[in-house]
Symmetry: C2
């Protein structure tokens, strides 16, 4: 084999090694091994590799080969205009320095690498499609390497290979990172809809945002619909415990701007932004460096039915503060936070839609039952109390949430049938005659008819709830009314409301007697257990009282 | 320069060219150019490249170089055990065929490439970490290429480079495809929450699923809570117009299995699955080949407030049918459809929660106002009609949805204050005395108090709605009651309900006179416009009548 053939074989072996290295897909591993191959190929003793950060126009010290003790330099940043590296980057051509120590451009912090003083250096800029990608510096290479054009051509081959591999690895890492963040986002926004509880919802959103954006703190500010002020609703992350009940006056601060204009604002250095509202930091002790602020913009929601469409609205704003690791906010951070915030705004609005309708319903029911109770001045507040007692009994008995809800509503309506009893009977001060007595005893039936005639029993939410209305005057021994049902014929709802109703009657003031004590009431209930009342329901009421769940008419007014 | 030096330079030039090619990131471009480089390097006249499909154990004809007229072969698949390619793949080593036509393993479909008969062939298997990736075939290369080890080493270098580049390009393409699908998923599940309208919701989900999974059809089946049957709620894609109101009996079909067990089922060939319910295809004419079926599983939802927690529930199932391009369902399809279906189930449940509460509220209001109307047998249905007329007027006037909603509720409640007027006055057949008359005229004030005392006015949903109750007997000229307001002092709600109330009084039967005609009513209203009633509201009512929105008491009963 001639010497040239040997060199050809060596070259092929080096290129093969480069191929093997390129088969690794992690960027750091690839960079280290490629630099090592270049150092070996050039018969040098050490090498360093910098990658270029175009946003800051800086070179980041990424890899050092041949000198384990210099690894602490990794991560350092230098101005991309300075030093030999800067010169090579600007000119786009390699620079050979025969004596590093004598070169005025040389950064003296790097005294020696691998325990050997630095003498010669070959500095090679890395570019892709004309854009700077980084710089390689190789140290203490022999003069012969420089004098051999094939050798230099081979090194350039390896470095151009390095650049394309860096680019591919970067594209893949970025794509995978985006994929991972998207996956996380899917999980987060899916999980948001599993609650309509506003506080729980806000807490989840902010905790997720803190983690997903890797920032020091996040907060949600909701617009006070009357004053327009922005009120801190929830803060997550560093200093959040100091952040209670803060308020930014309408139109003030970066958040005020965002909420008024609907724009997203990124400020990577708030010290230069005149809009920044300093009072919050002053109150909390938190030092805000950078802010990403997005509007909480809920879209038009097609509610359907009688409410039709609910118009879009900016309900407030969300802030992410201080990206960790001294990063600036990236375009990706902005998009991610934006998506999260719009979903949050929608779900906040949905929960509000639900809560509005629910509280409207609850208050209307309370208003109606209150009005019915008022027909008889001695039953003021009776329906509400019977409902409270019934719910307490059901909770002691361990009924599920959905049944408790039905019982709560239906027990509140237990006397609704009285709306059909004429005032002349309902408000009669003296004794009722036989016909009047008969009519009065029809109120459970009228109640059931009230539900039936208005198709209320077809609703899943009120399933079986007629029992509270129809059966709350039945007795286990069959001596009750209107149907004289016995034992198992009486539903659980009927039994519960019967106990609650009798207890309220005993512990309330009547025209002809004062309220009795709770202890006396329990004696009477226990005496009636088994014949009139259900024993388990009576004991559940007594047990609920020991748990502080039962307050009589007197106790409520006191 | 020696001949060896020339060859060294040529080699370096070839490797440089390979680097340039590798800088492209699309797989097809890279494959074509690399094959071209290999053909040139080997001094051959044509080449072909196959990629290996491990799922089907087939080679896919991917690229042909040197023969434009053979491009129609691209995409063809051959058994990976057959031919010279199969032999090279099995042995893992290159095969040189000195005379293609004489080799019995040769596939004779490829007679010639580039107009030149095929003579010699070099067949090189492509592997990565021992796994087969594909095969390269190079045709009509000179004997000298084979005899030169450096030449062969260079070709192996290029082919190993090709393999790593294929792998990297594939990883990147896959990651980007997943990223794109995730991005689409984020957009879809975000958009789901912008409607609580169940039908619109189901329609959106299925259309998105059809597109995202690239399947022929999708459908949603909801569980009938009484019978357990699965009822087709919505179908999207091919044959969907034939798919109305289909029903699968409880426990039948793949969907029945999925709904009962909560499992996801994939069947890539339904003809072999005994669970497949053939009746639906028979009815619709659609031919089901493959099914991906997932449960619609709504999670526990924290509703908060009085309803507490709503338990998890399988509400039905979703099906995707027949992936396009003869694909099988992939793991990714399954995960995607699963995520989409669980989000859909949650949003379906949320919309149901809202709709349940909303319809409960609406019916309770109807029941209450109906009961109030019943106090006076001649006002049966009055509140409902006044509400309908008020809404019709508001729609003619172009009020926004949110105000119309408030008007609908508050006009229905306009006489709720009568609940405090004693029966003796309300039901008195003859003329009221002065005191009774005064008490009767207090009902608008009692109505307003009813709202105030029950904190109903604090609700956003009822903002300003007291006006309908308090001002529906006021007159523009100040001669109304209870406060004798004039002109602008009377709110729009007050004016609208006044017109609706008067119109219903005129067109309803009274003990002392029959109902008047609509035309006569309009004459009376127009006569009162400007003094008693608001002219614009009167005209809006008349205009609503021409649009078919107004039905009187008589017309409703007829």
């Amino acid at each position: 084999m001639t010497m040239q053939e040997t060199r050809l074989n060596q070259y092929i072996a080096i290129i093969q090694r480069a191929n093997q290295i390129a088969a690794s897909t992690t960027l750091d591993q690839l960079l280290g091994e490629m630099l090592d191959l270049i150092v070996t190929t050039m018969h040098a003793s050490a090498g360093t590799l910098y990658l270029y950060d175009p946003q800051r126009h800086e070179l980041i010290f990424k890899v050092v080969q041949g000198s384990p003790e210099s690894e602490q330099l990794v991560g350092a940043r230098i101005d991309a205009d300075r030093g030999v590296a800067g010169a090579a980057l600007r000119s786009g051509a390699a620079i050979y320095v025969p004596d590093v120590a004598a070169d005025p451009r040389w950064d003296r912090r790097i005294g020696e690498l691998g325990g050997v003083p630095l003498r010669t250096m070959y500095c090679l800029p890395l570019t892709l499609h004309g854009r700077p990608v980084g710089v390689i510096q190789v140290f203490n290479l022999p003069q012969e390497t420089i004098d051999e054009p094939d050798e230099i051509a081979l090194v350039e081959l390896l470095s151009s290979r390095l650049v394309t591999e860096v680019e591919k690895a970067r594209l893949l890492e970025e794509s995978r990172a985006r994929e991972g963040r998207m996956q996380a986002l899917v999980e987060i926004i899916s999980s948001l809809t599993t609650t309509l509880d506003r506080n729980e919802l806000l807490r989840r959103i902010m905790a997720h945002a803190c983690r997903l954006l890797n920032v020091e703190a996040t907060s949600i500010w909701l617009r006070d619909m009357e004053t327009g002020d922005l009120v801190l609703d929830l803060a997550s992350g560093k200093g959040s415990e100091m952040m209670e009940a803060r308020r930014v006056p309408a139109g003030h601060g970066i958040i005020g701007h965002v909420v008024n204009t609907g724009e997203t604002v990124v400020v990577n250095d708030v010290s230069n932004d005149p809009r920044f509202y300093r009072k919050i930091d002053a109150q909390s002790g938190f030092v805000t460096r950078a802010i990403l602020c997005v509007p909480l913009h809920s879209p038009r929601i097609l509610v359907g039915g009688e409410r039709g469409i609910v118009e879009e609205r900016v309900v407030g704003g969300a802030q992410a503060l201080n990206p960790r690791d001294n990063r600036a906010f990236s375009q990706e951070d902005i998009e991610l936070f934006h998506t999260l915030a719009s979903q949050a705004a929608t779900v906040i609005r949905l929960s509000q839609l639900y809560a509005d309708t629910d509280s409207l319903f609850t208050r209307i029911i309370d208003a109606i039952t209150g009005a019915i109770d008022l027909k008889d001045p001695y039953t003021r507040g009776h329906s509400q109390r019977v409902s409270d007692y019934s719910v307490a009994i059901a909770q002691e008995l361990g009924l599920p949430d959905e049944e408790i809800y039905r019982l709560r509503i239906s027990s509140k309506l237990h006397d609704v049938g009285k709306i059909r009893i004429p005032d002349s009977i309902l408000k009669k001060p003296g004794r009722l005659d036989d016909d009047e007595f008969l009519e009065m005893r029809r109120h459970p039936t009228y109640g059931q008819e009230f539900l039936e005639e208005n198709d209320l029993l077809k609703l899943e939410l009120l399933r079986d709830s007629w029992q509270s209305l129809a059966q709350h005057h039945e007795r286990l021994d069959g001596k009750g009314y209107p149907n004289g049902l016995t034992g198992e014929q009486i539903s659980l709802f009927g039994r519960i409301v019967a106990v609650a109703d009798v207890f309220d009657a005993i512990t309330s003031h009547r025209p002809y007697r004062p309220a009795m004590t709770v202890d006396r009431a329990f004696e009477i209930l226990r005496a009636g257990a088994g014949s009139e009342l259900d024993g388990a329901c009576v004991e559940a009421l007594i047990s609920a009282r020991t748990h502080g769940l039962i307050q009589t008419q007197d106790e409520r007014q006191g």
